[in-house]
């Protein structure tokens, strides 16, 4: 009899332990959902606070961002972000896809194995170091080349951002190129096409949706990058339509101003509002990029 009770207790204890472990692991599993939810909730909560005391129309239509005089016009930041991003992706696309084609199609295996880690190293260089090099090296070059009074422009930031987005663009494009079945290449070569004709008439079109995904995800990195643009684009929230003028992006505005503002004030909540917009923009871009990748995987 006593033995039976003892077993009962120990088995009940064991059951409890299993229950605890299971729930503990489950909690860690769903933590990503919780954190993402908290991030979104905080952004939305503070944005609601902002828009309850600042008219939506003067935010989205406002042409002046000047926290000291309580003016929070979003247009200059949007223009700055669009200018920088557009210039950057124009530079990054040919570099990234060209490099991916070289690595995926042309390079001998030994060179490929050397190139891949080099690209990965590029991904690990901190953005503040890239920004620093930009200030010291790229900004003077741009200043002298275009005869400007100051070298910190949308273009300066865009050049460095382009290189920062390359690891993403190259690695995903290369995956897409590798996913093209070899029989496509053999068929093309057997029809008498040269190697290059095979590459650009067969491989690139087949891999194009993967390359599009790569560019989208690279775009996501460019839009969300902060320190490089903060240090290089000149920090001037004015509406300009030239790559050679100083601008101010959404990310740079948050990083530059959040440290100086009073917690809980109008300016504070305004920065969360543009943070929410930034979150939604990158979310949409990454969502499109990922859905392209998933479509390829299903193929």
């Amino acid at each position: 009899m006593p033995v039976v009770t003892k077993m009962k207790i120990s088995s009940r204890f064991k059951k409890f332990k299993v229950f605890l472990i299971k729930n503990f692991i489950f909690l860690n599993g769903i933590l990503s959902i919780i954190i993402l939810g908290v991030i979104l909730a905080l952004l939305i909560y503070n944005s609601i606070r902002f828009f309850s005391s600042y008219p939506v129309s003067s935010f989205f239509g406002g042409q002046k961002w000047s926290p000291t005089s309580d003016k929070f016009g979003f247009v200059p930041l949007l223009v700055g972000t669009l200018l920088t991003t557009f210039a950057s992706i124009l530079i990054a696309m040919p570099l990234g896809i060209g490099c991916a084609i070289y690595i995926g199609e042309l390079a001998p295996k030994a060179i490929r194995e050397i190139l891949k880690p080099i690209i990965e190293v590029l991904a690990t260089i901190p953005s503040v170091v890239i920004g620093f090099i930009g200030i010291k090296v790229v900004a003077p070059i741009i200043k002298d080349t275009f005869n400007l009074s100051i070298g910190l422009t949308a273009l300066t930031g865009a050049v460095m951002l382009a290189f920062m987005s390359l690891p993403t663009i190259i690695s995903i494009s290369e995956d897409a190129i590798n996913a093209v079945p070899n029989r496509y290449r053999y068929a093309s070569l057997a029809l008498g096409a040269t190697k290059w004709e095979t590459t650009y008439k067969v491989v690139v079109p087949t891999a194009s949706s993967g390359m599009l995904a790569a560019v989208m995800l690279g775009l996501g990195r460019i839009v969300g990058e902060t320190m490089t643009v903060l240090m290089l684009t000149g920090n001037s929230p004015r509406i300009v339509f030239s790559f050679l003028q100083p601008v101010r992006t959404i990310t740079a505005t948050i990083a530059a101003e959040m440290g100086e503002t009073a917690q809980g004030g109008l300016h504070y909540s305004a920065l969360f509002a543009i943070g929410l917009i930034l979150f939604l923009i990158t979310f949409a871009i990454n969502f499109i990029g990922d859905s392209f990748i998933n479509r390829i995987r299903k193929m």
Binding site: N28, G29, L42, P126, V128, W196, Q263, N286
Partner: protein
């Protein structure tokens, strides 16, 4: 007739070959530009910064408004942040991966978890900074502190750790688990004593890469931990610290007329710190990949 055909073919082939050569050269030049950029940054930083790196620079506090002295507090601060970030993100990441790989069913919840991990890795780092400020610094009242900064960085790199851990767990053959079950071990015992030890090298490899990223991040720590000047070393997890990335940012943009060599020296130390993590991570992964092929 025959002569014409013979004449024509070599010409078009030669043209085709020339086009091929032209495009191959363009692609090679593009690749060289990218490679030159990477090496250019590293070599230029070494050339410019090596002279600044002395024993005093690495072990002394900054003085006279950052213009003299060294970067010791910033190095220590970054090390504290790395340790704090690891202590938080490694257990959470590993257990999350265990849930996904060993427990989760293929249902809607699992899909949502995976979707949020992917989305979390796409959230801009400055938004993580906002989250850390609003949640850890203000709501939980940690203040600007090592704790708040480490938590922010930990969640920033969590997707990297989860993905790496899950890959490593997936690589453990199912026969190992079955053998353990057959010996009467419970699911939990199997995970702790069989699966996890097998997967651990892979988990560390992936985590090293994530840590390198955390060490170099600036935007998330500006509002959560980084101090412009805090020459004294921290005495608790609620202290503010200086950190290398923020120190470099301050030197490059905030300090008036900072000496050139201090800036280059700081940039070089930061880059070397991050590169060491990257090189260790890449080397470990290459070794694992080669071993798997054998």
């Amino acid at each position: 007739m025959a002569a014409i055909i013979e004449n024509k073919r070599p010409i078009t082939m030669r043209r085709k070959n020339m086009i091929q050569k032209l495009f191959y050269s363009v692609l090679m030049i593009i690749t060289l530009v990218v490679v030159a950029f990477v090496f250019g940054i590293i070599i230029y930083l070494i050339v410019k910064g090596a002279g600044a790196i002395t024993w005093e620079f690495l072990t002394q506090k900054p003085s006279s408004g950052m213009r003299e002295g060294g970067i010791f507090p910033a190095i220590v601060g970054t090390l504290y942040l790395i340790i704090g970030t690891l202590l938080i993100s490694l257990p959470i990441g590993i257990f999350a991966a265990i849930y996904l790989n060993e427990y989760a069913n293929k249902n809607r919840l699992t899909r949502i978890i995976r979707l949020s991990i992917v989305n979390m890795s796409g959230v801009p780092s400055v938004v993580f900074g906002l989250f850390g400020l609003a949640f850890f610094v203000i709501s939980l009242q940690f203040g600007k502190s090592i704790l708040a900064g480490s938590l922010t960085l930990a969640f920033l790199i969590l997707p990297v750790i989860i993905t790496a851990s899950e890959e490593a767990l997936k690589a453990v053959p199912d026969t190992y688990r079955q053998a353990s079950f057959a010996l009467g071990a419970s699911k939990w015992q199997t995970i702790i004593k069989v699966t996890l030890p097998q997967a651990f090298p892979g988990i560390i490899t992936g985590s090293v890469i994530g840590i390198g990223r955390a060490a170099g991040e600036t935007a998330p720590i500006i509002f959560t931990v980084a101090a412009f000047s805090q020459p004294n070393l921290p005495n608790s997890i609620f202290s503010q610290v200086m950190a290398l990335p923020f120190h470099l940012y301050s030197l490059a943009t905030q300090v008036t007329n900072p000496p050139e060599d201090k800036q280059w020296g700081t940039a070089l130390v930061l880059l070397m710190m991050v590169l060491v993590f990257a090189i260790i991570g890449t080397a470990l992964r290459t070794r694992a990949r080669l071993r798997r092929k054998e």
